[in-house]
Point group: C3
Chain length 112, copies 3
Amino acid sequence: MKSVFHHSNDDPERHDRVLGNIANLIDDDTISLDAVVLVANSGGLSLLLKDSPYQERVETLLNRGVSFKQCHNTIDGTDITGEDLIDGVELVPSGVGELTRLQHEGYAYIKP
Amino acid sequence: MKSVFHHSNDDPERHDRVLGNIANLIDDDTISLDAVVLVANSGGLSLLLKDSPYQERVETLLNRGVSFKQCHNTIDGTDITGEDLIDGVELVPSGVGELTRLQHEGYAYIKP
Amino acid sequence: MKSVFHHSNDDPERHDRVLGNIANLIDDDTISLDAVVLVANSGGLSLLLKDSPYQERVETLLNRGVSFKQCHNTIDGTDITGEDLIDGVELVPSGVGELTRLQHEGYAYIKP
């Protein structure tokens, strides 16, 4: 099974929740997981910036095989570039396009 | 691929976000799109009322082929009727029924 | 068709909304429904506690065939046990695992 988490909120409590949700999914031995992806757009960007308070937890999940994808539209017109994202985070043309593609590939959708 | 956006919030920032998300999806050349639908219920209604500040953007998306569907349950017991919705918006018996039907037809679900 | 409602918010207005949404789905005669499930995690827990102001409405939906599933991770490390949940609510190892499993079984996902 495969799951994609959609994260679009810049509230620290919601950053904490989505990271906890992903760890809980990986730790759930009753689920046979093939892939887990987080797609960030809108306020979700602040979770994935270098030197964010969440960097270590994001890196731990990257090392456990989770993919992190940031919407390019969200950073268009800002000073932020791919260089400002935590190493290993991938830019995708649009978060909503990626969410569409992944669900069509059989990913379950979860909005924490 | 097909996508349905679920909109249930009356916060102007969220109205703005869902319209921007839909435009971003249509503009994403890496996605081959067959259909895009917005289903509004609860607070999402205020996006689709005639003379809303969003009417022009909704009409632009209608002209680009996006379907807008308003939950009938949301207006039951109010003074609002189908006449009060932006021309081209369709009433459906229930928003949650429509979201169920569309996902069973292969639509990806996105909650901005 | 089958639907799973994901409920993760402890706001009374959101409790009210999710219960109303589920009733609206069951009452929608245009939808042929095989199963409806609510999965609660994070703040959604407070909807499913015994003696909550929502107990009677939850019981009514249980009697109409809706399944209610509470994430075990949410109560880990608290004083709350399965005994504190409304009779008929089932504990699942993780809410996000259950949401993944149900979508892979063909359930549509709805976040009210």
